[in-house]
C-alpha cells in the first residue's frame, strides 16, 4: 500500500520477525512436550494466535506471499487447537517447514524481491493435514454453567471447555478481586499455580464489586483435583473458589443458578465511575506510560553512539586543558578542571554502557533457530541428535547476532554431516546411539565465546592433509613438518572442507573458509580442536559489541593509527638485527615460531626517517585465528576505546582499513583492519608456509 510509510513497513517486518520467532519457539516446546508425553493445549493456541496475527498484518501491508502461507497455516492450526486434527510428529514436521518458508518469504519481502519461492509442496501438505479434520463435541449441558458465561467464550475457549468435560474434569469458578495496578503480576502468579492443577479456560470481568482501583474476574477452570486441594493451593483473601455442579443425570433442567460466592459480598461497590476528582493530570500521565517497551532502529543507537564518541573527544580536550593549566602554574584551576573531567568521564562511561546495554540481545535468539535446524537435518539424514544448549542468556550486540546465524548453521551442518557417525557406527565404537552437539556460550571479559562441540569421529588429519596436497595447497614435505594444530587449521582454506559429492546437507559449496571470513568480519576469530574418535570443538571468540572498540594507538611514520585490540595478541620490542629473510620476506622468530613482518610505514608509503638499527621500535603481533603477522611500528601510545566511523564511499574499496576514528586531539586517525591486512599481506605467501615452523 502506497500510503504506508517506510517506518510503518519497518515496524511490520520487525513484528513479523518476532511473531515467526515466537511461532518457532512454540513448535519447539510442542516437540519436546510430545516427546515427553505431555499435552499443553495453550502452546497450540499461542501458535495459532501468532499466525492469525501475522495473517491480519500481511493483508494490511500487502505482503501477499506471507498472507497466503498464513492463511493455509492458520486453518491447520485452527483444526489442531480445536481438536479436529491430532498433533503428531508428521504434522509438526510440516509446521516446521512452514517456519522455514516464513523466513524465506520474509527475507524476500524485506528485499522487495518478487523471486518465486517454492512453497507449493508445503501448501499441498498443509492441505492434506486439513483434509483429515474430524468434528466431535462433548456436551456442555451437563454442567450448571451460567449462559452469560457461555456466550462470551471464543470458539477456542468453548472447545477447551468441551475437551476438558470429555476428559471428566471438574469445573470450578474462581471469583478473584484484583488490584488494577498489580493485576498483571498477580494474575501471572495465579496462572502459574493453576497450571499444576488444570487449565484456566477463560477470564470474565464480572462488572460487579469494582471500584476505580479494583476489578473482579470470574475464572473458569477445569481440574482433576477436588475443591479442598484447589482452595489449599489457590485460595486467598481475594479469591473465592466454588465448584460448578454437574447436573443430575436424567433430571429436569436445573432451575438453580450457579451458587453465588458469599465470602466476598462487596455490597458497597461503586461501579466503574471514573474518579474525576482525584484523577486529573496524574492519571492522564500514567495513561501514557502503560506500554513499557519501544522498538528502535539500531541506526538510531549508532547515531547516539557517535555522539558519545564525539563527547569522548571533548572529554580528552578537558584533560589536555587541565594539563596545560597545570603547566602554566594555575594549579587550583587545573585541579578543579580535573575534577570536572573525572566526573564527566564517569557519566560518559555510564551513558556508553547504557547505550551498549540497549543494543544487547540474548544469543538465545539465534540458538532457537539453530535448534530448528538441528531437528530438521537430523531427520533428513536419519541421525539421532541431542542438542545441548548452555548460556543462551549470554548477551551480545544485536548486529553480531544477526550475522552469526549463518556461520553457526554451517558449523552445525558440518558437525551433523561429517562429525557425528551414523547410529550403528556409534554403537560399534561404544558411543550412545544419539549424537550430542553442545552449543555453549559464555562471556569472557569483553568477549563472548561460542563453542560448537560434537562427540563424533573427529577430523581425519591424514585425509585433510592428502586433500590439501591434491589441491596444491601444500607439498608433501611441507605437510610432514606441520604440527597437529597447523594441520587442523587447513580446514579453513578454501575448498578443503567442502565435500566431494553435493549431498543434501552440507554439500552446498560453503566451506569453513567462508565461515571464518564471516566471523572475522565481525572482529571475531575461530579456533578448532579435534580428537580422533572423540569429537570436534570449534570455538568462536567475538567482541561483545561492534559499536565501541578497544584499540591500540600506534605511530607509524608521521601518522597515528589505531589497531583494534581484538586482533592484537601482543606487542614486543623490535630488534632490527633479529630480522631474517625467508623466500625474500622479512621474518623474525618469536618463541620458536616464524612471524612474517609487515613494515606499516612502508606498506602505506608513509614518509619516514631512514631505518637505523639504533632506533627503538616495536612489533605489534596481529592474530587472526592461527595466522599471525608482525606489524612494525615506531611508537606505542597505549590503549583507548574508539568509535569506528565508516570511510567515505570513495575510500571504501581501500583494503586494510576498517574506518576512521577521531583521536583526542581533534585529529582523525585511520583504524587498521587487521584481519584484512593479514589476508592481504599473507596472500602472496602460500598459506601453509605462514604456519611453517622456524627451521633454525
Amino acid at each position: 500500500m502506497a500510503e504506508l510509510s517506510d517506518k510503518a513497513r519497518e515496524e511490520f517486518f520487525s513484528e513479523a520477525q518476532e511473531i515467526i520467532e515466537t511461532l518457532s519457539r512454540n513448535l519447539l516446546s510442542l516437540d519436546s512436550a510430545i516427546k515427553a508425553g505431555i499435552s499443553d493445549p495453550s502452546l497450540i493456541n499461542e501458535a495459532f494466535r501468532a499466525v492469525h496475527t501475522l495473517k491480519g498484518l500481511a493483508g494490511l501491508f500487502g505482503a501477499a506471499r506471507l498472507g497466503a502461507l498464513s492463511h493455509r497455516l492458520e486453518d491447520v492450526l485452527d483444526d489442531l487447537r480445536l481438536g479436529r486434527v491430532e498433533l503428531g510428529q508428521d504434522v509438526l514436521d510440516v509446521l516446521f517447514g512452514a517456519v522455514e518458508a516464513y523466513t524465506r518469504i520474509l527475507q524476500a519481502e524485506k528485499a522487495d524481491s518478487d523471486e518465486e519461492l517454492d512453497v507449493e509442496q508445503l501448501f499441498v501438505e498443509l492441505e492434506r493435514i486439513g483434509a483429515g479434520a474430524t468434528e466431535h463435541q462433548s456436551p456442555v449441558a451437563d454442567y450448571e454453567l451460567d449462559p452469560g458465561l457461555l456466550a462470551v467464550l471464543t470458539e477456542y475457549e468453548e472447545h477447551r471447555l468441551r475437551a476438558n468435560i470429555a476428559l471428566q474434569m471438574q469445573l470450578y469458578r474462581l471469583r478473584v478481586q484484583f488490584d488494577l495496578s498489580t493485576i498483571d503480576k498477580v494474575l501471572e502468579e495465579m496462572k502459574e499455580r493453576a497450571k499444576r492443577h488444570g487449565e484456566i479456560i477463560t477470564y470474565l470481568p464480572t462488572g460487579e464489586a469494582t471500584s476505580a482501583d479494583t476489578i473482579e474476574l470470574d475464572l473458569l477452570m477445569a481440574s482433576r483435583d477436588d475443591l479442598a486441594t484447589l482452595i489449599g493451593s489457590l485460595g486467598a483473601d481475594h479469591v473465592v473458589i466454588e465448584e460448578i455442579p454437574r447436573r443430575a443425570r436424567r433430571s429436569h433442567p436445573a432451575t438453580m443458578p450457579p451458587r453465588r460466592p458469599t465470602a466476598l459480598g462487596r455490597a458497597d461497590s461503586v461501579g466503574m465511575q471514573p474518579d474525576l476528582e482525584r484523577g486529573g493530570l496524574e492519571q492522564a500521565a500514567s495513561l501514557r506510560s502503560l506500554t513499557q517497551t519501544v522498538r528502535v532502529d539500531i541506526r538510531k543507537l549508532d547515531h547516539l553512539m557517535n555522539i558519545v564518541g564525539e563527547l569522548a573527544i571533548v572529554r580528552s580536550a578537558f584533560g589536555r586543558v587541565a594539563e596545560k593549566l597545570r603547566g602554566e602554574g594555575q594549579r587550583k584551576l587545573a585541579a578543579e578542571l580535573q575534577r570536572l573531567h573525572r566526573n564527566f568521564d564517569r557519566r560518559l562511561g555510564e551513558m556508553q554502557d547504557g547505550i551498549l546495554e540497549v543494543r544487547m540481545v540474548p544469543l538465545g535468539q539465534v540458538f532457537d533457530r539453530l535448534a530448528r535446524v538441528v531437528r530438521q537435518i537430523s531427520r533428513e539424514v536419519g541421525k539421532e541428535i541431542r542438542l545441548v544448549i548452555t548460556g543462551a542468556e549470554t548477551e551480545i550486540d544485536k548486529l553480531i547476532v544477526e550475522e552469526l546465524s549463518d556461520p553457526l548453521m554451517h558449523m552445525i551442518r558440518n558437525a551433523i554431516d561429517h562429525g557425528i557417525e551414523a547410529g550403528q557406527g556409534r554403537v560399534e565404537v561404544g558411543k550412545p546411539l544419539a549424537g550430542t552437539i553442545a552449543l555453549n556460550a559464555f562471556q569472557k571479559g569483553n568477549h563472548v565465546m561460542i563453542e560448537v562441540e560434537d562427540d563424533g569421529r573427529g577430523i581425519d588429519l591424514a585425509r585433510l592433509t592428502e586433500k590439501a596436497i591434491t589441491l596444491g595447497k601444500l607439498t608433501r614435505s611441507e605437510a610432514q613438518e606441520m604440527s597437529r594444530d597447523e594441520v587442523l587449521a587447513l580446514i579453513f582454506l578454501p575448498g578443503l572442507s567442502t565435500r566431494e559429492s553435493a549431498d543434501d546437507v552440507s554439500g552446498r559449496g560453503v566451506g569453513m573458509d567462508i565461515v571464518k571470513t564471516n566471523i572475522s568480519k565481525l572482529g571475531g576469530v575461530i579456533d578448532v580442536h579435534s580428537e580422533s574418535g572423540i569429537g570436534t570443538k570449534m570455538t568462536i571468540t567475538l567482541p561483545i559489541t561492534l559499536a565501541i572498540v578497544s584499540a591500540l594507538l600506534i605511530q607509524a611514520g608521521q601518522h597515528t593509527l589505531a589497531i583494534p585490540l581484538s586482533s592484537v595478541s601482543e606487542a614486543i620490542a623490535f630488534e632490527e638485527t633479529a630480522v631474517r629473510l625467508v623466500d625474500g620476506r622479512e621474518v623474525i622468530t618469536l618463541r620458536g615460531q616464524t612471524l612474517p613482518l609487515c613494515r606499516l610505514d612502508r606498506l602505506m608509503a608513509l614518509e619516514t626517517a631512514p631505518y637505523s638499527a639504533s632506533r627503538r621500535r616495536f612489533v605489534v603481533v596481529a592474530a587472526l585465528g592461527q595466522r599471525r603477522l608482525g606489524l612494525v611500528v615506531d611508537f606505542l601510545y597505549g590503549q583507548e576505546d574508539i568509535v569506528i566511523k565508516p570511510l567515505g564511499k570513495s575510500l571504501s574499496a581501500v583494503r586494510g582499513f576498517a574506518g576512521a576514528t577521531e583521536l583526542g586531539d581533534q585529529r582523525v586517525g585511520l583504524v587498521l583492519d587487521a584481519a584484512g591486512l593479514i589476508e592481504e599481506v599473507l596472500a602472496g605467501i602460500e598459506a601453509p608456509r605462514t604456519l611453517e615452523r622456524a627451521s633454525g
Binding site: M1, E3, A8, E11, F12, E15, E46, R49, H52, T53, K55, G56, L57, A58, G59, L60, F61, E74, D75, D78, G148, A151, V152, L153, T154, E155, Y156, E157, L180, I183, D184, L187, T202, Y203, L204, P205, G207, A212, I215, L217, G271, M272, Q273, P274, D275, G279, Q283, A284, L287, L290, T291, R295
Partner: protein, 135 residues
C-alpha cells in the same frame, strides 16, 4: 477532542489504526487515540474514559474481545459506548457472538485506512462529526 480506545495485541495493527484515525481530515476536533495491548489493559484504561468509541480485536489472550464487549455493555458508565470489532475472516462465529453481545459493527482484517475511517464515522457523536474547522 474525540477519544477512541483501540484494543489490539499487535503493535503494527494498533499503529495502523492510529494512523488511519489521526490522518482523517474530517475530524477538525482532533482524535485522542488510546492504545491497549490486551484485554486487561483495556479494563485498566476504561475507568479513565469516557470514550467516544472502542475498537477491539476478538482473539486476545486471557480477556478476549467478547468478554470485553460484555463487560462494557454491563458497565454503568460505558454501556452506551459504541464498539467496533476488528477481526479476521476466519473468526466468523466469534464475530457473530460479538454482535449479539452488543457490538455495533465490525470490520474484517485486512481493511484499508479509508474503510476504517468510513466505518468509524458512523459511530461518532454527530455534534463532533459535523463540526466545521475553526476560523
Amino acid at each position: 477532542m474525540l477519544r477512541i480506545l483501540v484494543v489490539e495485541d499487535s503493535a503494527s495493527m494498533r499503529s495502523f489504526v492510529r494512523n488511519a484515525l489521526e490522518s482523517d481530515t474530517r475530524t477538525s476536533a482532533g482524535v485522542d487515540v488510546v492504545e491497549a495491548s490486551s484485554g486487561f489493559e483495556a479494563l485498566r484504561l476504561l475507568p479513565r474514559g469516557p470514550y467516544d468509541l472502542v475498537i477491539t480485536d476478538i482473539n486476545m489472550p486471557d480477556i478476549n474481545g467478547l468478554e470485553l464487549i460484555s463487560f462494557i455493555r454491563k458497565s454503568e458508565s460505558h454501556k452506551a459506548t459504541p464498539v467496533l470489532i476488528i477481526s479476521t475472516q476466519s473468526s466468523e462465529r466469534d464475530r457473530a457472538r460479538g454482535l449479539s453481545l452488543g457490538a455495533n459493527g465490525y470490520l474484517i482484517k485486512p481493511f484499508s485506512q479509508e474503510a476504517l475511517q468510513t466505518e468509524v464515522w458512523r459511530f461518532l457523536p454527530r455534534g463532533i462529526a459535523h463540526a466545521k474547522p475553526h476560523g
